[in-house]
């Protein structure tokens, strides 16, 4: 506490006392300081692009009055000489929760589906009315911490909720009150994909739900603004009020940055987005967003890889991240992406400076670094006129340093904010580094002092004898205690001395016998030995900086491509060709692939430009299509409501999933990523091609057919939950959910088509597409009663169900299904995993097929999906399906069910060249995919796979070596971790 007052006292002596001048004072006379302060003879970085040597800056009332080589200095000026020193604008961190008390986590039992609040938006996690200032308390401790890093200004906000309300721009001025420090109390609006911890409302439970919620919210805000809502919604009012503020979005990763930008673009909002530090992995996509990025630099420490067992569990992608992350800021700069730096995400704020140095060593230019800390955040906050530079009129927020602020050896002396001085290191301390000789009690001593500015060290010798000692140096007073040369005794001599100019030390010494004698030591040599040491160290450091960045691959993990592969002209000679067309299976046949399409099928084909592949004894088929997959997605279920038609998996496709590669190795070329089965009306599908290395956006089919997942039975009625909290809880209720939603969608569509104004409702839009036969349903289903039910509901609304997926009791109503015209996409032999699959039989596919239903075999499982050829073969075993038809169960039939059979699913001239070369009969358990090709591009090749295994091992051992070097240098390491891939199923609740 005493310390605290002491510090405050120091600051009272500063020069920025401008307060709320209309406030009465009862503590004395009102005495405003209207003097000037001039900083002279400094190297002044007015802005990242303007440096003036030997310059002067004049400050008054917390602002810069003038700056330049020859500025007039008024008479009532206190002058501070900064010869040899530099001035920089102080840094700005625009993504903090500085001084904000975070809410407590809400507790309660079981899921809560309804909102807690009334008079606000229907979703508790949307809180645009929240105001950071109401929970703000200036935190001098963390302010001091930030000042030491060079920050003078932070934008703070309540880091809680999807829409978080307004943030505030705060000057880190320890000697002022909020009236002065708060530069803007409504400086920006903050958003994220993460729910509030203060509320328990279940929706949204997934990132795609958060995206959908934001979209609906913007629609609702417009509807509200137009005066269409008779009731009060304080959230939407606040949202509309905040519309013209800067919108700052907490993405937190490259993938979420892209997602946030996508939502913003749909409403003409350009968010400033917090990145994840992994932008370099697909930098061109980040660039294409045009979004300004707030960049964390929470670089990882090297892993502790001494133990080979543990080290072997590290994934290449995690090891690469350690090597590559420091290059992220450079790569953003090189790609012309606007970015500001933030301390956000750092476990210890102290590591900001060392990480910044690391980024600079990795090639980030000093100018860009300074911009990212000053002018860029100032501009992104719309405050370039008052912060970010030291132009006249700006706040006097500046740093005084011993030199180049981005040099490791530079000392940051002072951090001035709004004209208030915060001393970090005493800049007037005299440098006593150097060599001295002195005599005491008849002995001559040699003393070498180094590091006196911060951590003084001394070497003391008499004759040839080195003496143990302790030295301190504070406020120009040196205190040296050392052991006498007589090693038989345990005796000490203590010296206390001060210096005037740093060239001599003057004081007294207390001898072991208690006698005081005068002490005088003259500097014989300046500290160049030490300089040499430093120079050597610097060379070493520079060498560290040269650590090469491992190549970034597409995707940036094992088996990724260093360069995205290109389409080729390929001629397969002499294959057994499974056409899936009237021609059937053709022996000894050639297939030519050109421009991504099947160009020719026949005998003795030739093409001068083609790469010829001898397929003698091998089988060529169209690629396997999985109608029901959950790989390559960041989330699968939005279970926060019983209908979630507003969400789409296309928002959350994950192009960096290793299971894409493994699927390719199993001959799979297309999949439908379905929403899960948490609710009766699920979300929209993403239908993708497994173009390993491409962006998420490029995986999705062009002009993709529109699909949505529905679900029935145990999962949607939450049979395994102990809470009966959400309608429906029975199959009876499930039907009513559909009837209700379709009735409302019908009314909605009619209102929309009538031309009158209507509240845009994304969920209803999607359901209306179904009624208008523009979107198709793939419905998770098990027992015959519910299968029958859904067909009847659809017929009632005059449309057809497109596909029943799982459909394990389809065989019981196969005739009805054929009549309705619905397809069945089923498991080959799964059963016994829950009660509703009691009557599941492996003959299901065969019975449905024989009844005239279009049948597909699907996986719903990342493991099975890479062996779908084997699963198709089970239909030959169970139910005697012909081999040709069984093969169609995993190729042409799913293509038909997905309305893609005009593009894929068979080998037909003109169709997409999505083909697989098998070493054996494709239905055989002994078959292996040798090449998997999509649109003429070879995405999987057994030969390349073999090479990759070797190069992965090589790269990992290189990285291990680099990490060992880092550890040997004494740098901190972190324990290894085991990367996990969460396997998503229908039932996965996120």
């Amino acid at each position: 506490m005493i310390k605290f007052y002491l510090r405050l006292f120091v600051f009272m002596c500063s020069f920025s006392l401008f307060g709320q001048d209309y406030f009465p004072s009862n503590t004395g006379v009102i005495a405003n300081n209207s003097n000037y302060t001039a900083f002279t003879n400094a190297t002044i970085h007015v802005s990242p692009t303007e440096v003036i040597e030997n310059a002067t800056m004049v400050v008054k009332d917390g602002k810069v009055v003038s700056v330049g080589k020859s500025v007039s200095i008024p008479k009532n000026t206190t002058t501070i000489d900064l010869t040899g020193k530099s001035i920089y604008p102080s840094f700005i961190d625009m993504f903090t929760d500085f001084g904000i008390k975070k809410p407590e986590r809400a507790r309660g039992n079981g899921p809560q589906y309804e909102a807690s609040r009334t008079g606000f938006y229907w979703n508790d996690h949307v809180m645009p009315e929240q105001d950071a200032m109401t929970s703000f308390n200036y935190d001098s401790k963390s302010a001091t911490e930030m000042q030491k890093l060079g920050f003078g200004m932070v934008n703070t906000h309540m880091p809680d909720g999807i829409v978080r309300g307004t943030g505030a721009l705060i000057a880190l001025n320890n000697n002022a009150d909020n009236a002065v420090r708060v530069v803007d109390g409504r400086s920006a609006q903050y958003l994220s994909f993460d729910k509030s911890v203060a509320y328990r409302q279940a929706y949204p439970s997934s990132i795609m739900g958060s995206m959908a919620l934001l979209r609906q919210m913007y629609h609702d805000a417009n509807w509200y603004a137009d005066g269409n809502v008779k009731t009060k919604d304080l959230s939407l009012e606040a949202l509309n009020k905040n519309k013209n503020l800067h919108q700052i979005f907490e993405g937190g990763s490259r993938a979420n940055l892209l997602r946030a930008d996508k939502v913003g673009d749909e409403f003409n909002i350009q968010y400033v987005i917090l990145g994840g530090g992994d932008e370099y992995e697909r930098i061109e996509e980040v660039k294409a967003t045009n979004a300004p990025v707030i960049l964390p630099i929470d670089f990882q420490m090297a892993y502790d890889v001494d133990n080979p067992y543990l080290a072997s569990t590290l994934a290449l992608s995690d090891m690469r991240a350690w090597n590559q992350e420091p290059h992220n800021p450079r790569l953003l700069a090189e790609n012309g992406i606007t970015f500001a730096l933030t301390t956000h995400g750092l476990k210890s704020k102290k590591s900001f400076s060392s990480n910044l140095m690391k980024a600079i060593e990795s090639g980030l230019s000093k100018q860009k670094a300074l911009e990212a800390l000053t002018t860029v955040p100032a501009k992104l906050l719309g405050k370039s006129d008052v912060i970010g530079t030291l132009k006249a009129g700006s706040y006097a927020n500046f740093l005084i340093t011993s030199g180049d602020i981005f040099d490791k050896k530079t000392t940051l002396f002072e951090n001035w904010v709004q004209g208030t001085q915060h001393i970090i290191e005493n800049m007037n301390v005299k440098d006593i580094d150097g060599d001295y000789t002195f005599n005491l009690a008849g002995n001559s001593y040699d003393l070498a002092i180094s590091g006196s500015a911060s951590k003084p060290k001394a070497k003391l010798e008499t004759g040839d004898k080195s003496l143990g000692n302790k030295i301190s140096y504070v406020d120009d007073w040196m205190n040296l205690t050392f052991k006498t040369a007589d090693s038989t005794k345990n005796e000490f001599i203590r010296i206390i001395a001060t210096t005037k100019d740093g060239n001599s030390l003057n004081g007294k010494a207390t001898l072991p016998n208690g006698n005081d004698v005068s002490f005088y030591a003259n500097k014989t040599k300046k500290d160049d030995v030490d300089d040499n040491d430093d120079k050597m160290k610097k060379d070493e450091d520079d060498k560290d900086g040269e650590v090469t960045m491992m190549p970034v691959t597409y995707p940036n993990l094992a088996y990724g491509f260093e360069e995205k592969p290109k389409a080729e002209t390929l001629l397969f000679k002499n294959a057994t060709v499974w056409t899936n067309e009237a021609e059937g299976i053709l022996e000894n046949t050639d297939v030519l692939i050109k421009n991504g399409k099947i160009s020719k099928i026949g005998k003795n084909l030739s093409d001068g430009s083609a790469k010829v592949i001898d397929a003698t004894g091998k089988h060529l088929t169209s690629g396997v299509i999985d109608e029901h997959s959950h790989i390559a997605a960041a989330s699968i279920n939005e279970g926060g409501q019983n209908s979630s038609a507003e969400v789409t998996i296309e928002d959350v496709v994950d192009a960096d999933d290793i299971d894409i590669y493994r699927n390719l190795a199993g001959g799979v070329t297309s999949i439908q990523i379905l929403h899960g089965s948490a609710n009766p009306i699920g979300g929209r599908s993403a239908i993708i091609k497994l173009k390993w290395g491409e962006s998420a956006e490029n995986l999705v089919y062009d002009n993709s057919p529109k699909f949505i997942k529905f679900a029935l039975g145990e999962n949607v009625k939450q049979s395994r939950s102990q809470f009966n909290a959400r309608f429906p809880q029975s199959r009876m209720g499930v039907e009513q959910v559909f009837v209700d939603y379709f009735s409302r969608a019908k009314a909605y569509d009619e209102a929309k088509k009538s031309g009158k104004p209507y509240r845009k409702d994304i969920e209803m839009e999607v359901l209306a597409e179904i009624l208008n036969k523009e979107r198709f349903i793939s419905c998770h289903s098990y027992v015959q009663s519910e299968i029958n039910m859904l067909m009847k509901v659809a017929e009632q609304f005059d449309f057809n169900i497109n596909t029943f997926t799982h459909i394990l009791e389809g065989y019981k109503v196969a005739d009805k299904m054929a009549e309705h015209g619905v397809g069945g996409s089923t498991f080959s032999d799964w059963w016994a995993y829950k009660y509703e699959v009691n009557d599941a039989i492996p003959y299901n596919a065969a019975i449905m097929h024989n009844a005239g239903v279009t049948v597909a075999i699907n996986s719903d499982d990342a493991e099975m999906s890479r062996r779908l050829n084997q699963e198709a073969a089970k239909s030959v075993k169970y139910g005697n399906i012909s081999e040709e038809d069984a093969w169609k169960f995993v190729t042409l039939n799913p293509a038909k069910l997905l309305h893609l059979d005009d593009r894929v699913g068979s080998l037909k001239v003109g169709k997409d060249a999505d083909v697989v070369l098998w070493n054996d009969h494709p239905l055989s358990v002994y078959a292996k995919a040798e090449k998997t090709i999509i649109e003429g591009v070879t995405y999987f090749d057994l030969a390349r796979d073999k090479q990759m295994r070797e190069s992965i091992q090589k790269e990992k051992s290189e990285l291990v070596n680099l990490m060992l070097q880092e550890k040997n240098k004494g740098l901190k390491t972190q324990p290894v971790k085991k990367k996990e891939k969460v396997l998503l199923h229908c039932d996965s609740m996120d």
Binding site: Y309, L310, T313, A315, L316, S317, A558, I658, Y661, R662, A665, R720, Y811, K812, D815, D829, W830, W831, A832, Y833, K834, Y835, V837, N838, D839, I841, P842, Y843, I847, N850, A851, E863, M864, R866, R867, Q870, A873, K874, V876, K877, Y878, D920, H921, L923, S924, V925, Y926, A927, K928, D945, R949, I952, K956, P975, V976, K977, K978, K979, E980, K981
Partner: protein
């Protein structure tokens, strides 16, 4: 009230599940011969155009048709020209009959509470009436080890055949071995205490190993004493020390395997099998030196790390077999009971990734029989051994051709009908009606 409703519900569930099982076949009362088939012996050998004579539940003769004269009048002849005969497949480390429906708790008898449960015996809960058990037979899976799960020492397994009235009937080797779950080398942070939930090296590993060693030591001390006061768990371990029981250790990582084998050797356990063994391919020499066999984890799984070879789970069997290690396949994992009928296809997949077909067959016949200690009677088609075998129309390791027409356990001719075939036939008939 609510509880009652749940109980009634569970009761209904159980009774619904217990219907309509196939009646166990009667004892063989007439000799028969299978003539003309390709006989896959299970020991690596194949006899084309074979003749197999079965009498009183045993194979009396097996050999090439041409050189094996028999008296045809006295027996039934099964013409199997162009077909294939295999020894009944054996599912090691299985859990059939312990759970009927995964998601229905009332049907689950898989594991007991507590950490050290060697006295917990799977045979007690083995449900011969399981609809899943009967569904094994049409795929040629006729025998299995029934294994409890969970805890550090999960319990004691038994080996059964899949056509029985009750568990006593079913048992062919009771209490064959003890199953240990070796401590994990990685553990998860407790997220609810604010720890990082990622997998980090397990700090309690040594402590957990020591605890296990103490349990073994105490059991041995107990064994030597007068046993004045019964200690069921300690007593249950005694078979490991006198060599009458086998020790199965579930462990995947290289270091864990090394520690586990050294542990078992130090404890004086003679018969050791590693179960799982994901990284066993890295230490084949060590396994070989220590004469340790492996129940290799389910072939149809994904690699554990994104860096691993995509086909690692497929090719691991080849790696171990080439190194001369005794390997059998095990099915544990997601939906393992119903998936146990895919055991032949797990073996088939190892052929695509390196093994020969006869080698792959050994993984589910002779090798598990040897490890389980039932090879005197089961696992191969040899004169004097049990006639536990089946006839398939084609290659039984390939789903495309696995079509079982006859199956026998101890010479008894099994029904190949199941709950599933009955439903198939019922609905096939529905659609064939002209109504």
């Amino acid at each position: 009230m609510k509880k009652n409703i749940i109980n009634i519900f569970s009761f209904l569930l159980c009774s619904a599940i217990a219907f309509a099982q196939q009646t166990p076949a009667p004892k063989q009362n007439k000799d028969f011969a299978i003539v003309g088939a390709t006989a896959h012996i299970g020991n690596g050998e194949v006899i084309e155009n074979s003749i197999i004579v079965v009498s009183d539940g045993k194979i009396t003769t097996i050999g090439p048709e041409a050189s094996t004269p028999i008296t045809k009048q006295a027996m039934d002849m099964i013409d199997a020209k162009g077909k294939h005969v295999y020894p009944g497949f054996i599912v090691a480390n299985g859990t059939l009959g312990l759970v009927e429906v995964d998601a229905v708790k009332a049907s689950n008898d898989l594991s007991e509470m507590g950490m050290y449960n060697p006295h917990i015996r799977s045979i007690i809960a083995y449900n011969t009436e399981s609809k899943i058990v009967e569904s094994m037979r049409p795929n040629g899976v006729l025998l299995g080890q029934i294994t409890p799960r969970g805890g550090r020492i999960a319990g004691t397994s038994s080996v059964v055949q899949f056509d029985a009235w009750n568990w006593e009937d079913a048992a062919i080797k009771t209490d064959d071995g003890i199953h240990i779950n070796w401590p994990n080398s990685f553990s998860r942070g407790r997220w609810w205490l604010g720890e990082d939930p990622a997998l980090k090296p397990n700090e309690d590993y040594s402590k957990q190993v020591k605890e296990l060693a103490e349990f073994f030591n105490e059991s041995k001390s107990y064994d030597k004493g007068k046993k004045a006061e019964k200690h069921l768990p300690y007593e249950a371990l005694s078979g490991l020390f006198d060599g009458s029981q086998h020790l199965y250790i579930n462990v995947d990582d290289e270091k864990g395997i090394t520690d586990a084998v050294n542990f078992a050797k130090e404890q004086g356990v003679a018969n050791i099998t590693i179960v799982g063994g994901y990284e066993s391919g890295n230490i084949t020499d060590f396994l070989k030196q220590n004469n340790v066999s492996v129940f290799l984890r389910r072939v149809h799984t994904r690699p554990e790390s994104e860096d691993d070879d995509y086909d690692l789970p497929f090719k691991l069997a080849k790696q171990l077999v080439d190194a001369g290690i005794l390997v059998a396949l095990e099915p544990s994992g997601q939906m393992e009971r119903m998936n146990s009928r895919n055991l032949p296809f797990y073996a088939g997949t190892t052929v695509a990734y390196g093994l020969t077909k006869p080698q792959a067959l050994q993984l589910i016949t002779q090798n598990p029989a040897k490890i389980l200690g039932i090879d005197d009677m089961y696992g191969t088609l040899e004169a004097g051994k049990s006639a536990t075998l089946f006839i398939s129309e084609g290659d039984a390791l390939d789903m495309r051709t696995n079509k079982v027409s006859h199956a026998f356990i101890d010479g008894r001719k099994l029904s190949l009908e199941t709950h599933q075939t009955e439903l198939w036939k019922r609905y096939a008939e529905k659609y064939s009606r002209k109504e």
